[in-house]
Symmetry: C2
Subunit: 300 residues, 2 copies
């Protein structure tokens, strides 16, 4: 993220230093290792994956008008939307420069395809915002694109640098995809979690943005006319009052929308675990399974 234009390392450093789970680069590193890779190309490529992710976070925070991320002020709230858009573009370009330096057209294809799919998913999500008629399949398309595609690509790239069979590439891709979907489902549940709220974490971001996540899709489908009118007022008309979030959380529980969303997450996690069966047991496989279990367990 170095540049003679000082604002670039400053702003990029802020969001990168702010932490996060580094799940995506971990996937690239562990996938390469589980395929027996012994070189060091996976390190640079893991950085590419994280840069692409960071670029999308910078743009997401602008698009959502977010002021906080991981408990810290967002880059857009500190340096403005303009700088966040442009530094996001820079990190994205830098990721491609690193991939070009690595020199594999196969890796470039996997990650440029993933980038296009992510952008498509983000636009699709924008179109489902405030639309309570959004169905479960639309929601799944959105999260497969905006989240799972990069998880899947991060894993597949590990197999590619190890020059393993297409079967192993596809197994790791399937693992990443299942993990990514489960991860996003859990994220979307946590945003309405009373436990998270009790722990002092922020909840209700998606509600305030009018995002239609799976809990909402289920609640609208299962709700009676009064409940549907409530969801339309809050999420379509964006007419929200002080007690609306607690009431939303109540309805989601009453209609089993959070627990059923978590069941979906567990199903995708099982499929991801299943995809790993072709790889030998050992500490690297355990790391990947741990990442998967952590992603689901953080909801409980």
């Amino acid at each position: 993220m170095q540049s003679p234009v000082a604002l670039i390392p400053q702003l990029a450093g802020h969001i990168i230093a702010a932490g996060g789970k580094r799940l995506r680069p971990l996937l690239t590193l562990a996938s390469a290792k589980i395929c027996g890779y012994e070189g060091d190309r996976h390190v640079g490529l893991a950085a590419c994956v994280e840069f692409i992710h960071t670029a999308t976070l910078l743009h997401d925070d602008v698009v959502d008008g977010s002021d906080l991320r991981r408990g810290l002020e967002t880059a857009n709230s500190l340096w403005g939307n303009k700088a966040s858009v442009l530094v996001g573009d820079f990190l994205f370009s830098r990721a491609f420069q690193l991939m070009v330096a690595d020199g594999s057209l196969k890796v470039l294809k996997i990650l440029s395809d993933a980038s296009a799919i992510i952008a498509e998913g983000e636009v699709h999500q924008l179109l489902t915002s405030n639309d309570t008629e959004t169905g479960e399949s639309d929601y799944l398309e959105v999260i497969e694109a905006k989240t799972a595609a990069l998880f899947a690509a991060a894993c597949r790239v590990g197999a590619v640098v190890a020059e393993r069979s297409e079967e192993e590439e596809l197994a790791l891709e399937r693992f990443g995809k299942g993990l990514g979907i489960a991860f996003q489902l859990v994220d979307d549940v946590l945003d309405y979690s009373a436990e998270q709220q009790a722990l002092g974490k922020t909840v209700g971001d998606d509600f305030r943005d009018g995002k239609i996540t799976l809990p909402i899709v289920l609640a609208y489908r299962r709700g009676d006319e009064t409940e549907r009118a409530f969801w339309r007022r809050c999420l379509e008309d964006m007419d929200q009052r002080e007690d609306d979030l607690p009431h939303a959380m109540e309805l989601l529980n009453k209609r089993d929308c959070l627990s059923d969303s978590l069941k979906r997450a567990s199903d995708y996690a099982s499929d991801a675990r299943e995809a790993m069966s072709m790889f030998p047991d050992g500490p690297v496989k355990q790391t990947l399974i741990d990442a998967l279990e952590f992603s689901v367990a953080r909801a409980y």
Copy 2:
């Protein structure tokens, strides 16, 4: 620009159909031809170059809060900033997918380097905005990065697909760079041109945005204390009144800032012309020289 997410072709189609000079893809096509290339790879790569440019325009209009481009409503004013940021990301990713499909790591390097430099230049420009102490070298660094880098890359890519000597690659790159700088200098002059205003074109966009272009750099350096106070009030404090733009245009003429900026443009154009001397005369070379002369002559 096709995508199952209908807003993407809709929004991208709007900005692409809105026209523009298509100078950059023309440079790739003509550069390939002047190098004797007879295949069709240059066509797809010219599209990549235009997609990268279009992505930056979408993001620029968001960053500048522009409502009009080429006399039409901007994508951000029609579909909102969010969609413009995300569709820009999509077009950028799509450009890389097209390059990967083309399969040349050399082309990928040239265009990923250019993309990173463009983003750096845009951030640098953001930092010089509203700063009347900006010097000529800062200004030149900004326009070399944000404009000339893509012109230079567009030309060089033409020589690369033709598999010509590095000498020819570098000559075309130099042509593109000189043309790009001249083009941007003229653009920056036209924004204060009384002739453009008389033709009904919009002037004063840079002034209203507080951008520090070469005419302003010269005017501030050459101005007396009253004039400097005027520039600071308008461009630093952004305290602008109705008669300020006409007064700014008057000062720029009084201090020969527009004519001297155009002289700089002519110098860069001469250097670009000089770079073409190694190529044989003929209709393709004439096309490139015409593009160069048009870029400068539109100021007169």
